[in-house]
């Protein structure tokens, strides 16, 4: 037996040495350390299971090609396909955040099914660390998806007149995606299976994504639908991204998008943390 195994693995009676403050609160450094360890875990998941990156990698490619070549000609005319690329890519940036946010919920739900969450929740760590670590990695996945989307877009002739605006548009998508992730985290906690989370996400996202200005200008839609798309935050996000990348009025759309993000985060984050902490 090695020296390492010779030491007793359980404590003599009495509490184990305490870290942090005496009331058991976890300091900022502790939170960062725990979050870091959990981010590492989520990254190891991706390494172990590279297929889990398929959505982030394939989604932007498939959607970009599909819409540009199938619908692009019909919308802007076959000769003006490039015009549609400029219209579509900023919209897809908005859409991608949603699809990846949905993945947050399914992955989270699996952790509950396997009992891994029970272990985490019985450890002396801030419970928000588990949620934040998940979100950080998903934001990373969103960035990867956005980068791939832009590469495909540029190959299809995307033009960006305002480079700082492009980064602002990416940032705006991330901020909104961050807000939406809390909805899916909550669903991931309260729903019974990963499939249910996925089905629910599909049900909510489909009308939001297609009933927006992501794929086509709303001016040809019937009035009742326009009323919906005008209030759809995804329309605002897509329009804001277009304006930021290629000029146009953006202040109103940015304001709406940021307001939605703030409200979603402010309302859903406490609910998600609470549901996570008290889940039986």
């Amino acid at each position: 037996m090695s020296a390492a195994t010779a030491t007793p693995h359980t404590a003599a009676p009495g509490p184990a040495p305490l870290a942090g403050d005496d009331d058991g609160r976890i300091g900022l450094r502790g939170h960062l350390r725990h979050t870091g360890a959990l981010i590492r875990r989520n990254l190891l998941w991706i390494r172990q299971d590279p297929e889990s990156m398929f959505d982030a990698v394939l989604f932007p490619i498939v959607f970009c090609l599909l819409f540009v070549f199938v619908f692009g000609g019909a919308i802007t005319g076959a000769d003006n396909r490039q015009e549609y690329v400029n219209y579509l890519v900023p919209g897809l940036m908005a859409m991608m955040g949603m699809n990846i946010a949905q993945g947050v919920g399914t992955g989270f739900n699996q952790d509950f099914q396997t009992g891994v969450m029970d272990r985490f929740r019985s450890l002396p760590i801030g419970r928000a660390s588990v949620l934040i670590a998940k979100i950080v990695v998903e934001i990373g996945r969103m960035l990867v998806a956005t980068a791939i989307l832009l590469v495909v877009g540029f190959l299809l002739g995307l033009s960006v007149s305002d480079v700082p605006g492009l980064f602002a548009a990416i940032g705006l998508s991330m901020v909104f995606g961050f807000g939406v992730m809390w909805i899916f985290l909550t669903l991931g906690v309260v729903m019974k299976s990963a499939q249910a989370v996925q089905a629910m996400g599909f049900l909510v996202l489909m009308p939001l994504q297609f009933g927006s200005s992501i794929f086509a200008p709303t001016s040809t839609m019937p009035g009742w639908l326009q009323a919906f798309t005008d209030y759809n935050p995804l329309s605002s996000l897509a329009d804001a991204a277009r304006g930021l990348m290629n000029g146009g009025p953006v202040a109103h759309d940015i304001l709406i998008t940021v307001a939605w993000s703030v409200v979603l985060t402010a309302v859903m984050m406490p609910i998600a943390v609470r549901k996570f902490s008290t889940k039986a």
Binding site: S2, P15, Q48, T114, R119, I125, T278, A280
Partner: protein, 340 residues
């Protein structure tokens, strides 16, 4: 060290005290006023059928769910008012191995070490040490998804020991394991106890309780129906049954007759089980067991096998409570169904 709020009702050496713990799920009374104590450095077995409330009890004590009423302390900490401190002194091994299938065995343990604030080097060393101790070094780098059921359970035990917990909760640690793997788990649990851990163990098997626990609490439908030292309870439930198989099946009747004659069969007499060609006798003491063998030797009866059998959970319940253990249909809803 921090102030320790000892429960005033607790015995001075109690590592776990539970008073009047209640948890209802709708109309299901998962816990209906449970009291129990676990003394420091001992193993308390919580014996009960499916749905008796064992898992709910463990989940309350490990801060995963909040009881509706009652109090509990673990290592001096109030589970309800000091959940964060409680989490520092406990280790938990749930009914389902709660290890991350996508990570390797090493990464599982290292992650928990880091979450328990061990410095990187120490977390690594501790993960390696525990992997070796649980004979998992060879598989350390493989994803846990490729492990056998027994390996997962061992890794789960290792994971609950990373923080050198003062109190370990083991929820049915061997349910669903084959006998060989079960023995491995038992050996490890005994070793942890020898090193000073206090263990609260839930089980459906009298055999497991007898092998691991010094004291036993029998629960049914969320209530404690009996409790005490194992030998006391065994005396109350009638102890073991001796199954004697004569080498020649024709000697079944003479064997039973000989035991009756020597007055070794108790009021019920010896039971002859023709199907297995054996005679069954209740055994209350080791002396009686020895006398039975002596009597049969004196009669010149050759035996092919003699085994002692522990009472089954059903028999324990019948003799302690006068009714059968609640059926599995009355089960507390499974975890995903109770999520509210």
């Amino acid at each position: 060290m921090t102030r320790i709020d000892k429960n005033p009702d607790a015995a001075p050496d109690a590592a776990v005290t539970v008073r009047g713990l209640v948890k209802h799920y709708g109309t299901t009374k998962a816990l209906d006023g449970v009291d129990l104590d676990v003394r420091e450095g001992t193993v308390l077995g919580v014996l009960g059928p499916n749905g008796a409330g064992k898992t709910t009890l463990v989940r309350c004590l490990s801060t995963l769910i909040v009881p509706d009423a009652g109090r509990a302390t673990v290592a001096g900490y109030d589970v309800l008012r000091q959940p964060r401190q409680t989490r520092r002194v406990i280790g938990l091994t749930g009914q389902y191995a709660s290890v991350d299938e996508k990570l390797s065995g090493f990464e599982n343990l290292y992650l928990i070490g880091r979450l328990l604030d061990l410095p990187r080097r120490e977390a690594r060393a501790r993960a390696d040490g525990l992997l070796e101790r649980f004979s998992l070094t060879e598989a350390a780098k493989r994803p846990v998804g490729t492990y056998s059921g027994g390996m997962r359970r061992r890794l789960d035990l290792a994971a609950s020991m990373i923080g050198r917990p003062a109190v370990l909760f083991l929820d049915e640690p061997t349910t669903g394991l084959d006998p060989r793997t079960r023995n491995e788990v038992w050996t490890e649990v005994r070793r942890m106890v020898a090193e000073g851990a206090t263990v609260l163990l839930t089980t459906q098997y009298m055999e497991e309780a007898e092998y691991l626990a010094s004291e036993l609490t029998v629960v049914d439908r969320g209530k404690v129906v009996a409790g005490g030292r194992i030998d006391e309870l065994k005396a109350r439930v009638g102890g073991r049954t001796l199954r004697i198989r004569p080498a020649d099946p024709l000697e079944l009747r003479p064997t039973a007759a000989a035991l009756d004659e020597f007055g070794l069969t108790g009021p019920g007499g010896a039971a002859v089980d023709a199907e297995t060609a054996s005679v069954m006798v209740p055994v209350l003491s080791d002396e009686q067991l020895t006398a039975v063998l002596g009597a049969l030797t004196a009669r010149g009866i050759t035996l092919s096998s003699v085994t002692t059998e522990l009472p089954s959970l059903d028999e324990v319940f019948l003799s302690l409570t006068g009714h059968k253990a609640s059926a599995a249909q009355d089960d507390v809803p499974a975890r995903e169904e109770v999520a509210v």
